[in-house]
Amino acid sequence: MKKAKEVLLQGNEACAMGALAAGMRFFGGYPITPSTEIAEFLSVELLKVGGIFIQMEDEIASMAAIIGASLAGVKSMTATSGPGFSLMQENIGYASMAEVPCVVVNVMRGGPSTGMPTRPSQGDVMQSRWGTHGDHPSIVLCPQSVMECYTLTIRAFNLAEKYRTPVIVLMDGIVGHMWENIHIPENIEIIDKREPTVPPEWYEPYEDLPGGEIAPLVPFGEGYRYHVTGMVHDSQGFPTLVKDEVEQCLNKIIYKIKNNLHDIIEIEEYLVEDAEICIIAYGSVARSAKEAVKMARGEGFKVGLIRPITLWPFPRFHLEHASRKMKTLIVPEMNYGQVYGEVLKSSPHKAVKVTRVDGELITPEEIMKKIEEVAL
């Protein structure tokens, strides 16, 4: 096998490069710190491959434009931070309802509102799950390193195509602005648009296929004329209020995710086999947590780490399973306890939190202090 190429990259750049490798050829965005490097990088690189970069008038328009581009058959992405992510929510809901694949990168910053533009946060965990109105599925991936900014952005495009849904890459400002050497892999799995298997007159873009298979989305202009709407729709895409069709439409978007948790959920486990205390951490905080685990092991504490790489759907079963033998679960995060609340649902009497919301990262020592507290 050929040796992989090694380059020094910033997290945001690696994310943009991952998107290019995944075949993204349309980027619509609006600049906002700390995500701007993604747009700046793509404003140069997309033109070299004949793709389209457009700086839209706002984040609402950006999200709308990438949905339009995706319907025209081009893999598309936008990138933003906290307040911009809030503006995108209505159309993220549209993409979810109309089953249009696309990728949204949110490099989190301190909030609420304008918050702290240049300081990191993990405050958008719940916004990435429940930001738009109504019941809807969410796939959210959470990188902890520059390498993962690359690989998880590719995975986001693959999941978007596979499940015909928007996928969110949720980075914190530390990961987005971090510089690391990464290996650009030679061979990566890319999932592309699927070809229709039926002639135009039989094509139903929202058909329930046997075995939970998801109908392909045929790009506009290829002879498969159909209707796309954000309204509750029937299998042909037309608005409906027929009770059975309403339920079928909404169940479909939920269950295509719920029935495939094993495929979508990815976690990393570190020294959990014999652990009595387990840390649940994601993003940059997971790196501090891993250091804390090493420090604690050095002092004889049986501590392990579970890192949700897929943050939503939440890896509840993994945590329930692990927590059965654990005495305590520690959840450090840069917010007041958004994932902590999820952990409480599976382990109500065992979870404690370490929170930090002042725009500074959580250090291994802080986590270590909590380990000592709960161990004694």
Partner: protein, 277 residues
């Protein structure tokens, strides 16, 4: 020449999508007829056209016509359309919006689409009111007129849509009314043939929400008002400011040549050393 009824049936989606949601006497159907006749004359196939709409009465038009159709979120139709056109430039993209859709919630997208000059055709059905939500005032409701949220008379100044988009850089701006339906056909046909961002304003009566509250009579009376007040641009320009009361100009108001967005974009791709698609 093809008969209206033949053209309509060729382009409609007959099963399940009807009866339509429009009230008796609504002007939206007349605009739809004009659009269909214009498209028939351009010779474009149904697969070459994408019809994008926003929300509200006008937004439902995309459901009824057999193209690649997209019913978007309120006000955002032009932003969705921008993505489609840039991703697949060979498609003819037509956007149907209402006055509220285009100039209130979507005002930002409208002015920037004009400024960019992307080859998209925007048709704005202006009935001076929010129809589907129940007759609230819109940015084109005339001052002092009544609406369900302007019980004591509208105190806001209305937009002149054509002047607005002209100032923002649209390269083709035209206006007609549902009374001047044949003129509307030809204005739309010409906009589809134009390479650049085009706006056609179609004044359309809303007898149920707007006409009734403002004592304008039934649909026929409202068409009569259009007939009386719409002047060809040439005749309108001869009026002095003192003579202008309720009159407004119809016809082609702007038609100029300016570099189109994608053409400029292709130049930049060449500068970047990429392969021009």
């Amino acid at each position: 020449m093809i008969q209206t009824s033949e053209a309509i049936y060729k382009y409609l989606r007959p099963d399940k999508k009807f009866p339509h949601v429009w009230c008796p006497g609504c002007g939206a159907g007349i605009v739809m007829g004009a659009l269909v006749r214009a498209i028939e004359k351009t010779g474009l196939t149904k697969d070459e056209i994408v019809l994008v709409s926003g929300i509200g009465c006008s937004g439902r038009m995309s459901t009824y016509l057999d193209f690649n159709t997209l019913h978007t979120t309120h006000g955002r139709a032009l932003a969705f359309a921008t993505g489609i056109k840039l991703a697949k430039p060979e498609l003819t993209v037509i956007v149907i919006m209402g006055d509220g859709d285009a100039t209130a919630i979507g005002g930002n997208h409208l002015i920037h689409a004009c400024r960019r000059n992307i080859d998209i055709n925007a048709i704005i059905i202006n009935n001076n009111i929010y129809g589907m939500t129940g007759g609230q005032y819109s940015p084109t409701t005339p001052t002092n007129n009544k609406a369900s949220t302007a019980h004591y008379g509208n105190i806001e100044k209305p937009f002149d849509i054509c002047k607005l988009v002209e100032a923002c850089g649209a390269t083709y701006v035209a206006r007609s009314t549902t009374y001047h339906a044949k003129m509307l056909d030809s204005l739309i046909e010409r906009s589809i043939g134009k390479h650049g961002f085009c706006v056609v304003e179609a004044m359309a009566q809303c007898p149920v929400q707007y006409g009734r509250r403002n004592k304008l009579g039934g649909p026929v009376d409202m068409l009569q008002l259009y007939k009386e007040n719409a002047l060809s641009i040439g005749a309108y320009e001869k009026l002095t400011p003192e003579e202008i009361a309720d009159q407004f100009p119809v016809g082609v108001l702007v038609d100029k040549e300016e570099p189109e967005y994608l053409d400029k974009y292709r130049n930049n791709i060449q500068k970047a050393g990429g392969n021009v698609p």
